[in-house]
C-alpha cells in the first residue's frame, strides 16, 4: 500500500508503548502493527480521529503518500 502511517516517531515523542496506544485508540495491537508495516488497506475516520486525539497531531502528520511504493 503506498499510503504510509508513521506512528513510531510520534509514539517515541510521547514515550507511549504500542499497548497503551492501542488501548487508548480502541484498536487491537495486531491492527496497530498492520498500520505500522503498511499492510492496512482501509481505515475508519473514527479510528483516525482517535489516533490524532491520542497523539495530538494532524492526519497529515502521520499519513504520507509514497509514490515509489505503488
Amino acid at each position: 500500500m503506498s499510503i504510509r502511517v508513521d506512528l513510531d516517531v510520534r509514539l517515541a515523542e510521547r514515550h507511549m508503548s504500542v499497548g497503551d496506544f492501542s488501548e487508548a485508540v480502541g484498536i487491537t495491537p495486531a491492527n496497530v502493527a498492520v498500520l505500522k508495516n503498511g499492510r492496512a488497506r482501509a481505515i475508519r475516520f473514527s479510528t483516525l480521529e482517535a489516533i490524532c486525539r491520542v497523539l495530538d497531531c494532524q492526519p497529515g502528520d502521520i499519513l504520507r503518500w509514497d509514490p515509489d511504493e505503488a
Binding site: A40, A42, I43, R44
Partner: protein, 157 residues
C-alpha cells in the same frame, strides 16, 4: 438472530425429524396396502417406495444442513467460507428431490395412471421442488455477496 429463536427453530427441526422418521417407517406398510387396494399398479410399489424413501433422506439431509447453519448463525460465523458448503448441500438436496420427482412423474404421466392421489402429490411436488431449489440458489448468491462484503469490511481498521 436471538438465541430463543434459534432454540425454537432447532426444536421445530427435531420435530420434523421425528415426523419424517415416522413417515419413513410408515411408508412400508402403507405402500403394501396401496398395492393391495390397486392391484393393477402393484408393480409400481417398490420403485415408488424407493423414490419416497430417497425423498425423505434428502429431506433429512436438508434438516441437518439447516441445523448446521443455525449453529453458525449462533456463533456469528455464518459469513465464513465453511457455511457456503452447507448451503451448497441444501441446493443439492433440492436438485436431487427435483430429479426424483421427475423420475416418479414420468411413468404416471406417460405410461399409465397411478392411484388418483399420487398424481396430485406428484404435481404439487414437481412445482414445489424446483421452486425451492431456485429460491435457495438466489439465497446462496446473497450469502456469497454478503460474505464478500463482510470480508472486505473486516480489513478496515
Amino acid at each position: 438472530m436471538k438465541a430463543i429463536t434459534i432454540t425454537i427453530l432447532k426444536f421445530l427441526i427435531t420435530i420434523a425429524m421425528v415426523v419424517g422418521a415416522g413417515a419413513a417407517a410408515a411408508l412400508w406398510p402403507l405402500s403394501e396396502e396401496t398395492a393391495q387396494e390397486y392391484p393393477e399398479f402393484a408393480y409400481l410399489q417398490w420403485p415408488y417406495l424407493a423414490i419416497c424413501e430417497l425423498l425423505l433422506a434428502s429431506f433429512f439431509t436438508l434438516l441437518v444442513a439447516i441445523w448446521a447453519l443455525l449453529n453458525r448463525v449462533r456463533r456469528n460465523s455464518i459469513f465464513d467460507a465453511s457455511a457456503m458448503r452447507w448451503v451448497n448441500l441444501i441446493v443439492g438436496c433440492g436438485v436431487f428431490a427435483t430429479v426424483l420427482l421427475v423420475m416418479a412423474l414420468i411413468p404416471v404421466a406417460v405410461i399409465t395412471h397411478g392411484p388418483p392421489g399420487l398424481s396430485i402429490l406428484l404435481i404439487t411436488g414437481i412445482t414445489a421442488a424446483p421452486g425451492f431449489t431456485l429460491l435457495m440458489t438466489v439465497m446462496r448468491q446473497l450469502l456469497r455477496q454478503a460474505t464478500g462484503l463482510r470480508t472486505e469490511l473486516d480489513e478496515v481498521i
